[in-house]
């Protein structure tokens, strides 16, 4: 399934849930926040969300900032 993840094309080979995408990317799920097509998706819903072809996913983490 072709997705756009953090602005780049990404071919997802997993089950298509947001959870599976994070696993595939090696992200620490406890340290990440996610947005799909502009909507914030709470981590409690990641296992239930089925991504669709062409979805735009943003994955964010905390970094230093003032």
């Amino acid at each position: 399934m072709q997705l756009t993840v953090n602005g780049e094309a990404h071919e997802h080979a997993g089950s298509g849930t947001l959870d599976a995408l994070l696993d595939e990317l090696g992200a620490n799920k406890a340290h990440a926040a996610a947005m799909v097509n502009g909507d914030v998706v709470p981590s409690t819903e990641w296992a239930a969300i089925n991504l669709r072809e062409g979805d735009v996913v943003e994955l964010l983490v905390f970094v230093g900032g003032g």
Partner: protein, 260 residues
């Protein structure tokens, strides 16, 4: 806790808040946070990057005891983006605190008051504890208080400039006219700047560059802690009034010339 600072029902024992950007390393930042004895640090959101996983501050910061994380909305160019950033930040911090900052012009990084005001209304409505970074504008500060902000954070000078309390006269008006805590954010360079802000009646200061860019960040963080404590103690003690004419502090009896 003596003299706590209460923001949105949450009590803080320290009146020094720290930003976590610009530090040479995560270790240096953590040491500075510890030395400052702060109980609130700001963090930013950035896209997850597999190659730079070590930049993720969630782990190191969550190990610090008694330190609350306040995500900022940096990078937001308008109210809509800031609201989205705040919602993402809350997902991670599990806390209602948000530093609302919208500064679309990279040349001066000054806050956009109109977008900030609009975002504040919506975020407060959604139950966030909104701490907006704002120009030192007493009218705007009052309007933000009216729409439910938990504090206001006027700038002392532009972000990262170290120009100190360039806006001091306006900040004094904000302190006098605003009923929510006033926290000077941005521009401070030295612990004496922080002391001045607290002496003026500000409730706290938020410091990042002055500590991160110091030769010894942890030592500077400790110095800021002392400065903030001195300024607060002075405010509570009540500063003497100023006078246009000299007022002798020693007796001026003329015994030295009594035998002339």
């Amino acid at each position: 806790m003596d003299d706590p600072l209460v923001i949105g029902g949450h009590a803080f024992g320290s009146r020094l808040f720290l930003g976590t950007g610009k530090f040479a390393s995560t270790r240096t930042m953590v040491e500075a946070v510890k030395a400052s004895r702060t109980e609130l640090v700001t963090v930013a959101l950035r896209r997850f990057n597999r190659e730079q996983a070590e930049d993720d501050l969630f782990g190191p910061l969550s190990e610090l005891k008694n330190v609350r994380l306040m995500p900022n909305t940096s990078g937001a160019m308008n109210a809509r983006e800031a609201i989205r950033a705040a919602m993402l930040g809350r997902e991670l911090s599990k806390s209602p605190f948000v530093k609302l900052e919208i500064h679309p012009n990279p040349h001066h990084l000054l806050p956009d008051p109109i977008e900030t005001y609009e975002a504040a209304i919506e975020l407060a409505r959604q139950g966030f504890l909104v701490l907006p970074y704002i120009p030192a504008d007493p009218v705007l500060a009052k309007r933000l208080e009216d729409v439910g902000c938990s504090a206001v954070m006027p700038l002392g000078a532009a972000i990262g400039t170290g120009k100190g309390l360039a806006t001091a006269e306006m900040i004094k008006i904000i302190v006098r006219d605003t009923n929510v805590p006033v926290i000077v954010d941005a521009g401070l360079r030295s612990p004496s700047d922080a002391a001045c802000a607290l002496e003026m009646g500000c409730s706290a200061v938020l410091v990042n560059s002055a500590i991160a860019a110091a030769e010894q960040p942890a030592a500077m963080a400790a110095a800021f802690k002392t400065g903030v404590e001195a300024g607060r103690a002075a405010r509570l003690a009540g500063l003497m009034p100023t006078s246009e004419i000299a007022q002798a502090s020693s007796p001026l009896t003329s015994f030295l010339s009594a035998n002339d």
